[in-house]
């Protein structure tokens, strides 16, 4: 354009000033939004966590977050210590431990399948799992939360610790549909094997790490209301 050519050049100070003003205004807007939503976001996250935990541990009425590390069990802080595993202890109204929930994740067909599983420390079994997030094919991968036969695998999935208390006596294994023989095996859904395997692997990886850390300190969690 010819009229822009005769315009005097914009001084550098004007450019820096404008960017400075805009950046200041924007910075203030972002901080205001962050501060203003901090409480509702935290409340939302707590509610979502409670809902997820109550779903897998039906008798529970309160949840506490803990981390299990080499040094024992401690209440969860803002940062996860190296090598530690986060878990949730669920209590009933009287304050008795109802169960333990933890997250497991493994690669599924489309993306990572994240599940929250419930662990009964008294019986040393997994008692159920719920979905945290996944992007599997609708009506194929999502059978893992609707297929009654598949869910039955998790009614009492054996996760007994080995004698040395360092790992599970039997790793959780996902087997071909219809060939489950042992209490630590999961019968895969026919046609959704990849997603079934992701659930099993996610739970196994997490349980192998968490349960040995948890076992020596279980009494710390009792009546922890």
């Amino acid at each position: 354009m010819s009229d822009t050519a005769i315009q005097p050049a914009t001084p550098s100070a004007a450019m820096i000033r404008t960017l400075g003003i805009v950046a200041t205004v924007c910075g203030m807007l972002i901080v205001t939004a962050y501060q203003g939503t901090l409480e509702p976001v935290a409340a939302n996250k707590k509610l979502a966590l409670e809902r997820a935990v109550f779903k897998v541990i039906p008798g529970a009425s309160s949840v506490k977050e803990f981390v299990a590390g080499s040094g024992g069990i401690e209440p969860a802080g803002a940062v996860l210590p190296e090598g530690a595993v986060k878990f949730y202890a669920a209590y009933d109204q009287a304050g008795a431990l109802q169960g333990i929930a933890a997250e497991g994740a493994a690669k599924g067909y489309a993306d990572t399948v994240r599940v929250l599983y419930a662990y009964d420390p008294a019986k040393q079994v997994i008692t159920g799992f719920g979905l945290v997030s996944m992007r599997e094919t609708p009506s194929i991968g999502d059978k893992i939360i609707t297929d009654a036969a598949f869910l039955k695998n998790f009614a009492a999935l054996d996760v007994t610790l080995a004698a040395d208390m360092k790992s599970l006596a039997h790793a959780i294994k996902v087997v071909k549909h219809g060939s489950k023989q042992n209490a630590w095996e999961i019968d895969a859904i026919a046609g959704a094997t990849v997603t079934s395997k992701a659930v099993g692997k996610g739970i196994n990886d997490s349980a192998q790490k968490l349960l040995p850390l948890l076992a020596p300190h279980l009494d710390m969690l009792q009546g922890g209301k």
Partner: protein
Amino acid sequence: MAASSLIPGQKQLSNVEELLEGIWKQNPVFVMVLGMCPVLAVSVSAVNALSMGLATTFVLVASTFLVSLMRNIIPKEVRIATYILIIATFVTVVDYLIQAISLAVYDALGAFIQLIVVNCIILGRAEAHASKNPPLKSVLNALGMGAGFTIGLFALGSVREILGAGKLFGIALFGPEFQPWVVMVLPPGGFFVLGAWLLLFNWLDSRKAKPAAMQAAEVRT
């Protein structure tokens, strides 16, 4: 300095026309075919589509308002940097707001909330409209564009949810015997439904254009 005058030959629109521009004549989804990334990706359900549309509208309106207010003090050399900064700010704000309103919606929309920053409708409006028009007109135009985008997303989202899941707003429509047409909620379904809508709009357009052309021909003869 940003030019405050209109491009020669462009006619001045009234406030109502500014608002309607994006809803019908320049609909970002069906006419300009802009911002297809979120349109195809998050339109798997009516709720996702509406939330995405509203979030984009908020960013669109707020950023064009600020750009329009500052249009005479932003040197043209740094205008793109300034627009991006303003747009990114409102995207961050909307990100926090959605987390505060509903984590379920936040998780469903995923990365596409942050990706509003690079939605071409928004930068396009800032550059082509807000930088040349006063705040009221810019906001009306942005509101229309946002509404048009939301309508477009909803048109895709509702059809895909009905066909692909047999539901609308999560409510089952057809009873338990319904076999969902799963491909509709998968990525190819987005293209199918978008194509069908574009076909419909172009057909309506050509039907409207035909009598007008015939009339013009009659006048000439």
